[in-house]
């Protein structure tokens, strides 16, 4: 690898990730002394819709709720050492997040950094309504649209960094673009340098789930042991001017980076490995290889790229009704038989309500299918500690509430010895995806202006 290396550290792989992950990553980036970037990936498929709902209740909200906890411990050091921060923690309100970061800098006694806000992903407005209806072929009719966002690529991020942004706040961008943008800006790659963009894309793909490439989500005691999961080091990609990368992690942190772990994450959420489609490029892993090149250091090579497609993926979220769940426990002799009888009773009471899922936690609760084919094939195993779980969805809240009432009524009307009833009822979101012509979705950035827009 060349000596000109850009280090990209990742301190979050989803909204809800450990918020103390950034400190060791930033310390390692500072110690490296070279150009480096810190990314936070906090936006799963549903997260943005939840953020949109939060923004409906308070126009100041709608960005990552843990933004303060993630940034506060490292903001001063990142700014002091020239470590730029790129994230999609803007969610449904990137400008709100920028305002909050300005406020945080103020509270820490720092001068307000140059914060760029990337926009263009929100396609829920009137100007895109025809394109939405075309793409969804009428599926939107009569539904409560919560959010519609396109997955943007890396170009606006790269342009913001070239223009001098210290922090780039995005809403929906493809996860690997958080890494591709800084690499494009640093190395001066063109937007059609497909091989290099593809390699950086796969570096970003390896980073985007945080600790999943450093030993998180891998351990299986006795077969796949990983030390130090309670103090996992989050990943750093060392990217060279050809886009090739070494994945590593902060010295002394928990976890491990080895070939097997990197392979698991390389194929995570990949379909055809010859055509991993992002907004920036179509990456081809057919000839990819991984090689251990040092302790906790794995080199990825052999990735190629093909021209990007003419469309961007759009995720549309709609309110879809209610999810009702209810549970009750049975223990001791014939417990499984009593749990099965309880399920039969509730099923009979709710006949006609629609699909009703039955799980016997302790016997079968995860591998089974909603329709119950698996459970039907499993005879009473004689289990003596079983928790019955039942679940249903309904568009009508009052109907969904019936599940909880029937489960509670088992206290007096059900089999012997049932206890520990818990019930929940939650509003649900449905997601629809389609491809929209890229030409309809221009992305751009602009600098947050603290004089005009204030700090929160």
């Amino acid at each position: 690898m060349s000596k000109d290396v850009l280090r990209v550290g990742c301190a979050a792989g989803f909204s809800g990730d450990r918020t103390d992950a950034a400190r060791p990553v930033v310390d390692a980036l500072i110690a490296s002394g070279g150009p480096s970037v810190l990314i936070f990936e906090t936006l799963a498929e549903r997260t943005l819709a939840l953020a949109q709902i939060a923004r409906r209740t308070d126009p100041q909200l709608g960005y990552e709720p843990l933004l303060d906890e993630m940034l506060r411990p490292v903001l001063a050091d990142c700014l002091a050492h020239g470590i730029r921060i790129v994230s999609n923690f803007g969610a449904a309100n990137p400008r709100g997040a920028a305002r909050r970061i300005a406020g945080l800098a103020h509270e820490l006694g720092l001068s307000v950094p140059r914060i760029a806000v990337v926009s263009g992903d929100d396609v829920s407005g009137a100007s895109h309504r025809d394109a939405l209806n075309d793409g969804l072929q009428g599926a939107l009719a009569g539904r409560d649209l919560v959010s519609a966002n396109a997955y943007l690529g890396a170009e606006a991020i790269a342009n913001a960094l070239i223009a001098g942004a210290q922090i780039v706040v995005c809403g929906r961008v493809s996860d690997p673009s958080l890494t591709v943008g800084p690499a494009m800006a640093h190395f001066g790659w063109a937007a059609d340098d497909w091989d290099r963009l593809a390699r950086a894309t796969m570096a970003g793909h390896l980073l985007e789930c945080g600790a999943q490439v450093t030993g998180g989500y891998y351990a299986d005691p006795g077969l796949k042991d990983v030390a130090g999961l309670a103090r996992l080091g989050y990943p750093i990609a060392e990217i060279d001017l050809n886009g090739q990368c070494v994945i590593t992690k902060p010295a002394g942190s928990g976890g491990r980076v080895d070939e097997h772990i990197v392979k698991e994450q390389l194929l995570y959420e990949v379909h055809d490995p010859a055509a991993y489609v992002t907004p920036d490029v179509v990456a081809d892993l057919s000839e990819a290889q991984v090689r251990q090149v040092g302790s906790d250091r794995v080199l990825l090579r052999g990735v190629r790229g093909h021209a990007r497609t003419d469309s961007l993926k759009v995720n549309v979220c709609c309110a879809s009704g209610w999810l009702a769940e209810a549970e009750i426990s049975y223990a001791g002799a014939r417990a499984e038989g009593r749990a099965r009888l309880a399920a039969d009773i509730v099923r009979e009471r709710l006949a006609g309500i629609g699909p009703l899922r039955i799980d016997l936690i302790g016997v079968s609760s995860v591998i089974a299918d909603d329709a119950g084919h698996w459970l039907e094939a499993v005879p009473d195993s004689g289990a003596t500690d079983v928790r019955l779980r039942m679940a249903l969805r309904h568009t009508d809240r009052a109907q969904a509430e019936r599940l909880a009432r029937e489960m509670v009524a088992l206290y007096t009307c059900g089999p012997a010895g049932g206890g520990g009833v818990r019930t929940s009822l939650r509003p649900t979101l449905g997601t629809l995806s389609f491809l929209m012509p890229r030409a309809l979705i221009p992305s751009r950035f602009d600098f947050f202006d603290p004089q005009r827009e204030g700090a929160a």
């Binding site: 989500y217 698991e264 194929l267 995570y268 379909h271 990819a288 995860v366 779980r389 249903l392 449905g430």
Partner: protein, 135 residues
């Protein structure tokens, strides 16, 4: 099964991880050792995996080979009961599904047993003597 081979759970020969997008699941199967990779290709086929997941009624099972990684990637369409937003499953992402696949039986010639990981103990295997872990 002949005298020169034994049936082992797949997890002794390979490891993997499940990912999801919408109602589609992908499950990687990665050989613990390059010497075991041809066994995986020969035995863990699209039809064998479709059979393993029959209760979830997959609309299609595709297998992609990655010989330079000694890995395979399975893509199972419509096995998540609608996916994370629509499924009634506690594990609506289907994250546990790799463990269903990795419990499939694999016929392993004796000369390749040295490359296996872990020890036996899966319900899919026939009883045979315990071995020392190779890792």
């Amino acid at each position: 099964m002949n005298d020169n081979s034994s049936i082992e759970p797949l997890w002794r020969a390979a490891h993997g991880r499940t990912g999801d997008k919408g109602n589609r699941s992908n499950i990687s199967v990665i050989a613990w050792d390059p010497a075991l990779y041809p066994l995986l290709v020969a035995q863990i086929t699209e039809s064998a995996v479709a059979q393993r997941f029959a209760h979830r009624r997959p609309a299609r099972v595709q297998r992609f080979l990655l010989p330079s990684l000694h890995a395979m990637n399975f893509v199972l369409d419509d096995v998540l009961d609608g996916g994370v937003n629509d499924s009634l499953n506690l594990d609506s992402h289907g994250k546990a599904l790799s463990f269903l696949l990795l419990d499939m039986p694999l016929q392993v010639p004796h000369e390749l047993r040295i490359h296996l990981a872990g020890t036996t103990g899966s319900p899919t295997t026939k009883p045979h003597p315990k071995e020392t872990p190779s890792t």
